[in-house]
Subunit: 712 residues, 2 copies
């Protein structure tokens, strides 16, 4: 074991010979000596350590996983996994986010830099023990101390680097569906948005646009004029965002396949031949994204689509997901054949059935193909969690070049901490379940803790049947998440806002308009959160440190406001705990209703016809009139609602929203103070697009004053 210390006093414990993961940015580490405070134990090439847990301790972290904000009482597996059934007994989703904090008498954060499987048992087997089992002996643990979770997070974010910044249009509304059959259908979908005057900034293209599921191909038959479609839509402010999968179809004459073979870009099996797995197109090879050469090659392939005017992508199936390989499929087929004519009892029947039901993503697949790293040849299993990362980094470096340092939209399904620098993530293939809306709410702070800010769930749910009520309730939350995408699976009920009852359509439309009114605020909060290294979505206790509030995981603080989503069906409202007096805002284009609510516990009405949230004391919320898309957004007249007992300050951040290298950062510093029975307003503005600011100021008793300030 070696130990190091960083400038910000983070300790590093380095065990064995860790593989370089790019989980942290280049750090000026100084070797020094510490005792192994983790007391790591080794058995059979595995390592483990544990912590004592007391009933009052809180555990945070683990990013994209199930469970609440407090992680106690479950297990979590860090092993990027494609499992579309997110039931509450699962412990692995698509990401591997090895950062957690234990908050009790002391506050400590831990980041385990390791690319293979880790199992966390957070008081699950025994409520007093938090154990960590690492499938290897070569890893680093960063131990971060701080007086509270925010300090720890801030220090942690210093070492992992600044998160990905999407183009500003990435904050628009996105429609998606696996199953848009052809260009015409995409045009029709857009026309319906226009006809219904529902704002939109992009339409995602799922597998449907490809020829036989082949990466970097476009179906001539169904999407033969993609360039024209892309250009027509972009003229109206709408972007197409196609999907790219990890696996490359094995097919003679298919350029990507042939170049991959020629350039030696594919992962190998134990005999050194390109490894064959099967995914959507049937048999595929997996590019070995761990090789820089392959990253450059694959990254520049996005040119096929950027040449059509495309500026956004989603990288999918990059855990990598595997439907089957030949060995396992043959074994299942063989078992089936041997069962012919047999009287199968429960034992033999389930044994046979399991051969088929458990064909996908078997451990043995990840043990049977190899990557070439600078550290040498490694089994996928041993570096498993880096695969989606390097695919996405490949896309990033390709797009950076292809789009000449213009920003692009990039999200990935699989992820590891480190990937947050290059892309956002969506939370994977969820379902139209109320519990998945709840999961979305509770996951946001954990995602932020792990560096993922550009993120959101498939609103309305990907699999299964969404009701109008669920869509509206989900939208009431998703209008606040940086990535706002309604996406659904082929075969499920169609899920565009206008595919539901009239009242659902109208409600969705109003909610999307409200989203556009809030984009300047959300963009500002996003940019400030990542630059100030703080959460964009905070648990209530992070902002109002009162132990009693740690039970409350369904109220989130987002800058000036508190969100209180409803995530149960058939509800007219919900319980809300106000840790201080707040201004209740029912927000919409034509009628913003406010209501001063006093500190305490309430059952608050929250109907399907509104967007409700709470403005904190001495806080301000800027917004604008809604627009049809981000491109046509107009912030000449900025509006500001304030709830101010004595004084408040808001700094509205803005920039061109397009350049990767941000040259001009605009800031509008707004200070409002209540002095001698009147309001004193002080604005310092560098944003050339703002011409005036309309203030709606509520004092401690909820009385409203209006003021307008012209900007010189």
């Amino acid at each position: 074991m070696k130990t190091y210390i960083l400038d910000n006093e983070i300790k590093i414990f380095s065990y064995g010979e860790p593989i370089e993961t790019e989980g942290t940015i280049k750090l000026n580490r100084k070797e020094t000596f510490f005792e192994d405070e983790l007391n790591v134990k080794y058995t059979n090439d595995k390592s483990s350590f544990s912590f004592k847990l007391r009933e009052e301790d809180l555990v945070y972290g683990f990013g994209a996983n199930l469970g609440g904000i407090n992680k106690k009482g479950r297990t979590y597996k860090s092993y990027c996994t494609d499992d579309a059934s997110h039931t509450e007994d699962k412990n692995a989703l698509y990401g591997a986010h090895n950062f957690f904090m234990i908050i009790g008498d002391t506050c400590k954060g831990y980041f385990i830099d390791f690319p293979s499987e880790i199992l966390y048992d957070v008081g699950f087997t025994d409520n007093s023990i938090f154990s960590v089992d690492i499938d290897g002996e070569d890893f680093e643990v960063y131990i971060i101390e701080g007086e509270n979770p925010q300090v720890i997070i801030s220090k942690f974010h210093q070492i992992i680097g600044t998160p990905y910044i999407p183009p500003k249009w990435g904050f628009g509304y996105f429609q998606s569906r696996w199953g848009y059959k052809n260009e015409n259908e995409v045009r029709e979908i857009y026309e319906k948005f226009k006809e219904n005057e529902i704002p939109i900034d992009g339409i995602f293209l799922d597998l449907d646009y490809m020829e036989d599921f082949k990466d970097f191909t476009v179906s001539e038959e169904r999407f033969g004029n993609l360039k024209e479609l892309s250009s027509d839509l972009k003229n109206q402010g709408v972007h197409l965002v196609p999907i790219i999968d990890a696996g490359v179809k094995i097919e003679e004459g298919y350029d990507i396949y042939e170049e991959g073979i020629k350039g030696d870009h594919f992962c190998k099996d134990e005999n050194g031949k390109p490894y064959i797995a099967a995914v959507w197109p049937g048999k595929v090879h997996f590019p070995d994204f761990m090789k820089e050469d392959t990253q450059r090659w694959f990254g520049l392939k996005y040119k096929v689509l950027t040449d059509l005017g495309i500026e956004g992508f989603w990288n999918d199936m990059n855990e990598p997901a595997i439907f089957y390989d030949e060995t396992a499929l043959n074994d299942a087929i063989e078992s089936a054949y041997l069962s012919k004519g047999e009287n199968l009892d429960a034992h033999t029947y389930f044994k046979l059935k399991d051969k088929f039901t458990q064909l996908s993503n078997k451990d043995q697949y990840y043990q049977s193909f190899y990557h070439e790293l600078k550290e040498g040849k490694k089994k996928n299993h041993d570096v498993h969690n880096l695969y989606g990362y390097y695919m996405t980094k490949a896309a990033y470096i390709g797009l950076e070049t292809l789009l000449e340092r213009k920003r692009f939209l990039l999200i990935s399904r699989a992820s590891i901490i480190g990937m947050h620098k290059y892309a956002g993530i969506w939370t994977g293939d969820n379902s139209s379940w109320w519990s998945h809306l709840e999961l979305n709410v509770r996951m946001m702070p954990s995602l932020n803790m792990c560096g993922f800010y550009y993120t959101g769930a498939d609103t309305g749910g990907f699999g299964g049947e969404c009701t109008g009520e669920l869509l509206v309730r989900w939208m009431q939350f998703s209008v606040f998440t940086p990535l706002l995408r309604n996406h659904s699976a082929i075969g499920s009920k169609v899920q565009e806002p206008f595919s539901f009852e009239e009242n659902t359509k109208e409600r969705s439309k109003e909610l999307i308009k409200s989203r556009y009114m809030l984009i300047p605020y959300l963009y500002s909060e996003y940019m400030k959160s990542i630059s100030e290294k703080k959460l964009m979505f905070s648990p209530l206790t992070f902002e109002f440190p009162d132990k009693k509030l740690s039970d409350i995981e369904d109220q989130l603080i987002l800058g000036s406001i508190m969100l209180t989503p409803v995530y149960f069906k058939n509800k007219k409202g919900r319980y809300v705990t106000l840790p201080q007096d707040m201004l209740e805002i029912s927000f919409s284009e034509n009628n913003i209703k406010t209501n001063l609510k006093r500190e305490g516990i309430h059952y608050m009405d929250y109907s399907l016809d509104e967007l409700k949230f709470y403005l904190r004391e001495n806080s301000m919320l800027p917004y604008v009139e809604p627009s049809q898309n981000v491109k046509s957004m107009n912030i000449e007249t900025l509006k500001v609602i304030g709830y101010i007992k004595d004084k408040a300050r808001y700094d509205l951040y803005d920039d061109d929203g397009i350049s990767l290298d941000i040259k001009e950062k605009y800031c509008t510093h707004i200070k409002v103070e209540y002095q001698n029975t009147d309001w004193v307003i002080d604005v310092k503005n560098t944003n050339p697009n703002i011409k005036e600011i309309e203030f709606y100021l509520y004092d401690s008793e909820g009385s409203l004053s209006q003021r307008t300030i012209k900007i010189k």
Copy 2:
């Protein structure tokens, strides 16, 4: 269509030629003429009708199904189904409970008497439409009017008859696990209860006790001395409750199989040969329980076990569940064989995989075997929901004879309204999920509405891994459900109270002791509820009619008390709405803590170390000291806590708890009034076992007075 009216003014609409279901008891129906207010439509041998739904309407009913107390926003399928994955998108569980109420401007209840599939879409597809699709043209609909839900329920229960009454020991604590390997293990389990002084009244025996999954056999090797075991345990007040499955193994020399063939007791395929399906033992025949002859034959077979001293049974797999039949299995095997060496793409791969994953309980199975009814030969599909009912009725009539009108424990997995007269139900193969604890809470009132009172969930969850915290939180609710059974599946974490951390064991023990303290009260509430035809577990709004309270589905009224279970992990408490001042009671053997809480909304602490509930205004709760089992329960000293502003009354019902024909019913009428600064207590008692009553009376300000009354 014919129409009838009943004495209690229930209207009956009779369409086609309904099959006799025994869903209602013999009714004195008078033919009369009504317009078809349902406006039934017919297409392709199916019938449908619908209701308009307004946002403010409430829909109740559907018994054992998913969703909340208010049924809006989902679909429900009445088709007894064995599907162990109770995810929130499912719409059919083990029961078919076709009673529902629509409560809005008017209140109406509906009972559809029909034994095959019905699909309900309660504002799911369109939030303003509640549609009912009946897979047939022969059915009856009972329409029940009343000024409120309770009146409707009471009228409905008049026509379906009195629910099953278990022996009083059925209110004890039951331990169960699929996987108790042999007698020794069962003895050891019991010994651990004794050693830990945890009360217990029964141990359930799952498939393990049988020889090769054969009904009415006992493994010589593993349970060779079952009679001795049964007798030893019964001497200590502990009953064995073995499982019986629906399918009879096909095996030459196996008496049940041979008698079944000889007596022509099995369901036939379309060629008139006994239908072959496969379940646990491999290939089986299904007894045709619809034939009275077969009922008598099968019912008396329980003698094999009653002769060993057994007095309780659980009928399982009686939807009937089918793992596969030869045709479907061969088809799957054939597909597998044809896939050999093929490059399966997504389409062909999932097609093959689905052949295996979807082998269980295929629709086609239920279309391919037949029953003989007095109405003639019918496909199972057409009378599907009666199968579990008639199996259980068979057991009932057998046991009635075998046990000479002594009460017995009988629960079934499959059910239909009508079966409530002969047995209880457990809520099926749930999982160790927090959402299933929540489901359990919300399902109780619906089950009562449909006539099922002797019911409860597998506490701790059947499948999956239970944590100590989940077990304790579940127990905090289950100690109130008539059926209290901790049951878990083979392969899952062991789940007896002493299999967890020390504090979980201690907490469970205290909770089980509290259960035994409350048995006189729970038994009394049970018996009064069924005789007075009211719910035992009521939604809050049923007792406190305030529209605002209809959102609250997680507070239930059980007679004098209100239950407020915690069903989220990592919580120190929960929100509680008190519709009136109530006495908070933290209940336990050695320290009953009380706290007067005022009407309003609170966040109440509810720790893992207590059993908390609320005593209503002007109400009393009787209890006794804990005992090791029901047999040794002592009610000589009855204790009563009262929270009385002016006056209160409680009638404690009791009887011998054993006889099927209850001869002596005991009642202790307790009246307490606060008059001229003092308490006036009036007790009229016919219960010879009660010698004194200790009163703990809290007045409107929460001041306590103690009184003891000797009973002459």
